[in-house]
Symmetry: C2
Subunit: 372 residues, 2 copies
């Protein structure tokens, strides 16, 4: 495999900052990747997403294979061209969404057969087909096909899924081949079982990937369990390869995970919260539906670089949210993605200057202090 360069510029405890270098541009780490499920980061223009500082967005294999279809996206020159995003794209493998969204799933050793949640049509994903779809989409980072179980789950189920994911990791790697300028990440599974996490990590490393994701967390377990599992897993992963914690999380989850050596994150939280009237800010989370904002002339954060956070009064945002106006969703989704980018940009600077612990403490104190 021709490895994608990952340059670690500085470390600060277990935290590190660096960049993952692709032909389409570099991903500065720690990185937050906005989720562009169906070829759009919901309620945002692609150029707004780029302007917040995002270096990469995520696309969902499950959604895109069903609509518009991987071959159709490929006929358009790939997902970048289709959605007008020219920086790197990471695609997931489809495994997680099949488990959480599809109807009538039937899992076998070779893959999974399922019915579309859109029209009931039958589809099949295998490690080979998942990798092929991600190639058709034009992914810069391809994720191995895996099986993820929701927690809590019986240990036997967790172990079976972890073993199956390892077998699929090998098949994903074989199917991926050695394309220039593209990366394949393996996914550590093992639920909330420390020993299974270690086995999964070691065996994945033995197979060898461009990067290593930690999957199957933030799926129902408490934060301390998630952090404990990271503590067990990260030391097993090679320090010269990026580590990606899938589907995480709150700003607090992100800071605590960076402190444990995680480099990449994705989560629907900032955009989903934005569509539901919630803002993430350096003063903590605000629910703009709350009547206390009805006459609040202040912006979300006058120091923000993001126009959505800086230029509109909370009273106006409150009005838009209460009125169910699309512009409310647009502005809050934008402000939230910008906040997540500012959070990770701040982490990168702090790590570079050896001050990450202070940065995390000050940021956390800011959330607690609020804006009173």
């Amino acid at each position: 495999m021709s490895r994608i360069p990952f340059n670690v510029h500085a470390t600060d405890g277990a935290a590190r900052t660096g960049e993952l270098v692709f032909p389409r541009g570099s991903i500065r780490t720690p990185a937050f990747m906005p989720v562009g499920t169906a070829a759009t980061v919901k309620a945002l223009y692609a150029d707004q997403v780029a302007a917040t500082g995002a270096d990469v967005v995520l696309g969902n294999t499950y959604h895109l294979m069903l609509r518009p279809g991987a071959e159709r996206v490929a006929a358009f020159g790939g997902l970048h061209e289709f959605m007008r995003w020219d920086k790197p794209i990471l695609t997931d493998s489809g495994g997680f969404q099949v488990m959480s969204l599809a109807a009538l799933r039937k899992l076998d050793k070779d893959g999974v057969t399922f019915q579309s949640h859109i029209d009931g049509s039958t589809h099949r994903l295998t490690p080979e087909r998942s990798v092929e779809i991600q190639r058709l989409l034009g992914a810069d980072v391809t994720m191995q096909f895996d099986e993820c179980v929701r927690l809590p789950a019986p240990r036997d189920d967790v172990e079976r899924a972890m073993r199956l994911s390892l077998a699929w990791a090998e098949r994903s790697k074989a199917a991926f081949g050695s394309p220039q300028g593209r990366a394949l990440f393996g996914i550590v599974q093992g639920g909330d079982q420390a020993d299974l996490r270690k086995v999964s990590a070691r065996e994945l490393v033995a197979v060898g990937f461009d990067g290593y994701a930690v999957g199957g967390l933030a799926v129902g377990e408490p934060q301390d369990v998630m952090l404990a599992m990271l503590g067990e897993t990260v030391p097993e992963l090679p320090s010269d390869r990026p580590r990606y914690l899938m589907g995480v999380g709150t700003p607090d989850d992100i800071l605590k995970s960076i402190a444990r050596g995680v480099d990449m994150f994705d989560c629907v939280m900032p955009t989903r919260a934005g569509r539901h009237g919630q803002a993430f800010t350096r003063f903590g989370k605000m629910n703009l539906k709350n009547a206390r904002f009805a006459e609040d002339k202040r912006p979300l954060d006058e120091t923000s670089d993001c126009p959505a956070a800086r230029d509109y009064s909370r009273a106006y945002l409150h009005h838009l949210v209460k009125s169910g106006e699309i512009l409310g969703m647009m502005l809050l989704s934008w402000a939230n993605i910008a906040y997540y980018q500012a959070l990770t940009a701040g982490a990168r600077s702090a790590i570079a200057s050896g001050a990450f612990a202070d940065y995390a403490a000050e940021t956390t104190a800011g959330w607690a202090r609020g804006d009173a």
Copy 2:
């Protein structure tokens, strides 16, 4: 009354082009005014609206008095500041929406009492309160309070509403006073009755307003009835004052009305259609839900100045619309507002060069020809 300057630069048959000059900026006519019902042109940022060439947006007294409330908007320095739009704003009087949206309306000679469609609370509008609300909102153009009847309607009802609207026109004018830099428009009523339209127009002109609107059209009657009523009404209005056809309409309605001497229009059609997957283009109206767009790599219109119309494939728009994505609504609303602005900008140029009939014929032929 201190009159707002209206400079007619050129005429071409009954069509004319000019500008209505306000301290906040001029409205170039013929003008299409995007509707910003609840302090937002739905699914568009205010700066996008301005960039399409719109010189003015409309705000709705009915919606804004209920939420967030006129006094609250005033406390924010007015609607311009609240919604971040610094060019002129025209507000309607609330009369039309009370009739079409409110529950348990009770009309009397003095005004109307009604219940909010949002929370059932009781409110009252009179000519004086309507003008006061529009002042609190900071309207550059205030509309007189009127009563509008849906067509078809018995002649007696039409006449009664027309007479009531005339009485309210006088009271609106008295309440308005003579504020510097702000305009008050009267509204011609009279339904589909030519003689009543003439009476209404003449009596309004006798009262004297900065501009004259034609109300109570595009409320269920065929286009030829609407155009016939314009033909009866416009000649009764002074040529040195702007004429505004309320709530109209399709691009074809607009061209035919410009040809009959109308200067200003507003309509929810471009944004509402945009939220429902429809695009207005120089090739006619397109329903992006249609499967024929699924593999259409062309933009809506490669010659458009609007990024939404120029830079995204129809296949991508089709995908977004089919997926119910907010970005689809954002892009189509934007493209549609831009098309309406391009249509009226083209009309202004054509009138200035004495070629409006050719412009209208070519534009209409373009819609018929399509893009095959």
